[in-house]
């Protein structure tokens, strides 16, 4: 996408500067309307079609379609911390989210005060947390590790420091983690 955009930018820029530098001729090769039809209509329409053909299926794959077996976790935004709750296991965490790898996790996002936005840059997902509503986000990590998460919607003084970490465990390790921590309660 970036390559294509750069190409168009270069194309327009080169044409533009050539158009300024060139001497005008009396018998133009290209008719005026051709400029408008090809550049003004065909080019953007073609680009849009390509983008949509790629984009809409990608968006569709990211949909949180109903799946009863998926792991559900409730995340609530507060000024300025994240409260994480694992229903059924009675685990409550702050600013920390443990998930298994290669498993879609359904996060139920909501807020207790102002609007926050849940974002893990390297996992490529972002969804707002609104008071009074629950948005469902599908999160999936393909590698174990620690991912940095950050509030993306301005939420007041502590916004810059409203961070959290997502810890992705191998599936077996996650099961152990889950068992250990639910046992505590």
């Amino acid at each position: 996408m970036f390559g294509f955009a750069t190409l168009i930018l270069l194309l327009v820029a080169i044409l533009w500067f050539y158009a300024i530098k060139r001497r005008s001729d009396d018998s133009p090769l290209i008719r005026p309307n051709a400029w408008l039809c090809w550049g003004g209509l065909a080019l953007p329409l073609l680009s849009i079609t390509v983008l949509l053909l790629i984009g809409i299926p990608v968006g569709q794959r990211m949909l949180p379609l109903a799946d009863d077996n998926a792991l559900k976790i409730e995340v609530t935004g507060h000024q300025w911390y994240w409260q994480v709750y694992y229903p059924g296991h009675a685990i409550e965490l702050t600013d920390e989210l443990h998930i298994p790898v290669n498993t879609p996790v359904y996060l139920q996002l909501t807020s207790a005060d102002v609007i926050h936005s849940f974002w893990v840059p390297r996992l490529g997902v972002k969804l707002d947390m609104l008071p009074g509503r629950t948005n469902v986000l599908r999160l999936e990590a393909s590698e174990a590790g620690i991912y940095r998460g950050q509030c993306a919607e301005y939420c007041g003084l502590g916004h810059a420091h409203m961070q959290f970490s997502v810890i992705a465990h191998e599936q077996a390790a996650f099961a152990t983690w889950l068992k250990e921590h639910s046992a505590d309660d």
Binding site: L45, I48, L52, I56, P57, L63, L65, A66
Partner: protein, 120 residues
């Protein structure tokens, strides 16, 4: 009657009519979708094949046909020649292209209805 003059192909109202129709279509699609999703959401399992998507697609086709008809009328007006060269012809030309563009915007805007499930 003023309103009848407004409907003639050379009247400046034609410049905005095409996209006004598009706007109404756009609002109807968005509002219809949102309201139905609140009141009687079709099952998400059906994906794009449910009555709501079909209705929205039907609406899109009707609006598309209307816009194309208006574009055709404007085109004939431009071609008929006896309207001289002046401003009415200019308006006829511009509004014809705008009708076509509105038809295109309607078509492209309506296509996702065929692919995406409505309420999630």
């Amino acid at each position: 009657m003023t309103w009848r003059r407004w409907c003639e192909p050379g009247h400046p109202a034609q410049l905005v009519l095409g996209f006004s129709i598009w706007s109404i279509w756009f609002i109807a699609m968005y509002a219809g979708l949102s309201v139905v999703c609140q009141l009687a959401a079709p099952a998400p399992a059906d994906s794009a094949g449910n009555w709501l998507n079909y209705t929205l697609w039907g609406l899109t086709l009707v609006v598309l046909a209307l816009l194309l008809l208006l574009a055709w009328r404007g085109w004939r007006y431009c071609c008929s020649g006896q309207n001289g060269s002046g401003t009415p012809r200019f308006i006829g030309y511009v509004s014809t292209v705008l009708y076509l563009m509105a038809a295109l915007a309607t078509l492209v805007g309506g296509l996702p209805v065929l692919v995406l499930p409505p309420c999630i």
